[in-house]
Symmetry: C2
Subunit: 338 residues, 2 copies
DNA sequence: CGATGGAAGTTATACGTAAAACGTGAGGGT
DNA sequence: ACCCTCACGTTTTACGTATAACTTCCATCG
């Protein structure tokens, strides 16, 4: 009988089943073919069930030198998007017997200088969003296998990268708006220094710039409805001809832009077309519904996890960006004025 | 010198510093007052720094018999709300040297029967949303300290509970609408069986029922914009006098109700007043902005974590529901018709 | 018939840490 | 001269698991 209060160990199970601790480990670890008889194995399983035995993971991790736990670093969890990334990553991880631990970066979680302090679990590897760049130096200090999400393939110092094809999404937005006849663009950009936002700016400038008689102005805002509201409001009421198309770096910015436009008495899409990027629930809650680029956050998370598993396996992760899709809704139309 | 590739251990540090492993443990564990001289301690710290030593958490957890890791079980992470709960819980946890591991319940994460399979880290305790009820039986199997979020204080079998004062929020909504003159109510309810939604229904019926000449109809919908759209559409176009106030169990349902109302040509708030509950970013993105009950998700998470820490400490968690606040915006107004 | 080998286990050990138990020499009090 | 205490360590052990190495028994084979 086990000592009343503490959790039963494999030794307790062994004693009940009348075998050695090693036999318990073999049976429960499914390594017993040709080592233990079926009848004995069943006896062990029964004893384990009766005692409610659960292996001590700390001991297992220590013994095996690995934890089957992975860290996901995200800029903040307060957005649907990274929640989706986590969900996808955790799903794939579970399929492979892995767990995922989150590290929402400092601004969300307070002054935790050490990403690993919050994850008491030891780690086998790390998946990190490039938006959480501030945490990266700490991460690189450890020599853990690393997969970067939406990061510059050149600048990641050999870490594997998994990227959404944001450039293609922006290209689709630009072509859509150009085809509608828009010529004066306003780019409502996120004020976070990150490769994924640089790509948006670069691609938009390239596509729009390839057509004669076009212009792109840029204004930056923090990623929040309020921040976008003030920035877009200022930009839309600036002197000179008003832009007819407002390309936003993400859906939240677009939501702010809606409000700014309304306050100025502008109709969407008649007076100004607006586009977003993400396709959050927000996008269809807006009126008119938002034309935006759909990013499959869960798929993104799944790819990230698969890439990390490949690295851990000594394999080379698959190449190739994850496709994205323009979703045309009611917020874009041909410009009305000249 | 340590064997090239593997991580340095406390023994490696000891060798470099010219002391025993025990001394390293004492110094780095901050238990050395009067046991090790300041100069030796400094030498140990320096060696640790040089080697980039990080304690093996699996070994520490095994030795100490606790992990300083806690599991947060949520129905899904794809909502701002539970992301906020996590953020708050993780912040408090970090202040106490704890980590938080997430278990988004099965529907989100696939067929993971065992909540602990996804969290390879061993656990000291569990915080669980009552919405993830399906995972609860598995959790109760283990005798881990448990804190329930928004759960029936009577029915939780002795587990500590931390609740938002939802009843008060619904009361405020009801009084607000009654004061505006509304008499015919439609309750757009979530179709999830959970105490937190039962409270909404009970309190609304109680408050509205206390006034003569009032009525409350109820229709249920899954918590999504699309689900609410169809349910609310059907209810609003049902025969008989149309409700003038639509009380929704949360903001997403309210967003669906907006669309349903618009499709029927109803103006908000002139033809129908709508209220939500949560105060997500969504609420201010809608037009008109949504009158709703603000729940402080992060504070909720913080309280949950503090309660668990109290339980782990053998203390009794503080009592008392977390206050909520009605935020009146543009979606509610006096009814226009008779 | 002795050797071979497979089945069915057991024994022993290592993983890295924390901390209890155990020196050890110097200084101080009586 | 003796014991005590204190400062400064070291030696040893236990945590629970996985697995390599070893034992034992029995059947088969050349």
């Amino acid at each position: 009988m086990a000592r009343g209060s503490t959790r039963p160990t494999s030794r307790d199970v062994a004693q009940v089943a009348g075998v050695s601790q090693a036999a318990v480990s073999l049976v429960l670890g499914d390594k017993w073919r040709g080592r233990v008889s079926e009848t004995t194995a069943e006896r062990v399983r029964e004893a384990a069930r009766d005692l409610g035995y659960r292996p001590n993971l700390a001991a297992r991790n220590l013994r095996l030198g690995r934890t089957r736990t992975v860290l996901l670093v995200v800029p903040a969890l307060t957005t649907e998007f990274f929640a989706g990334v986590y969900t996808g990553a955790a799903r794939v991880a579970a399929e492979h017997g892995f767990g995922v631990v989150l590290y929402p970066s400092p601004e969300g979680i307070g002054p935790a200088r050490d990403p690993f302090a919050s994850a008491q679990a030891a780690l086998d590897g790390v998946i990190a969003s490039s938006m959480a760049a501030d945490a990266l130096t700490a991460i690189r200090g450890d020599q853990l296998p690393l997969v970067m999400l939406d990061s510059d393939p050149e600048g990641s110092l050999g870490a594997a990268t998994v990227n959404l094809d944001i450039a293609d999404g922006v290209r689709q937005v630009a072509e859509h708006l150009l085809a509608l006849g828009h010529r004066r663009f306003l780019h409502l950009a996120a004020d976070i220094p990150s490769w994924t936002f640089e790509v948006r700016a670069r691609e938009l400038a390239a596509r729009v710039g390839s057509v004669a008689g076009t212009s792109v102005r840029t204004t930056r805002a923090p990623i929040s409805i309020e921040g976008a509201l003030t920035a877009a409001g200022a930009a839309l009421s600036a002197p000179g001809p008003r832009p007819t198309a407002l390309v936003c770096d993400d859906d939240k910015l677009a939501a702010g832009a809606y409000k700014a436009a309304r306050r100025l008495g502008l109709r969407i899409p008649e007076d100004v077309s607006i586009t977003g990027l993400d396709d959050l629930a927000l996008a269809t809650a807006l009126d008119p519904e938002l034309t935006t680029v759909r990013l499959d956050a869960e798929l993104f998370g799944e790819h990230g996890m698969r890439a990390l598993l490949a690295v851990l396996d000594g394999r080379v992760p698959e190449e190739g960006d994850i496709p994205v899709e323009l979703v045309v809704r009611g917020s874009t139309a041909p410009p009305s004025g000249p």
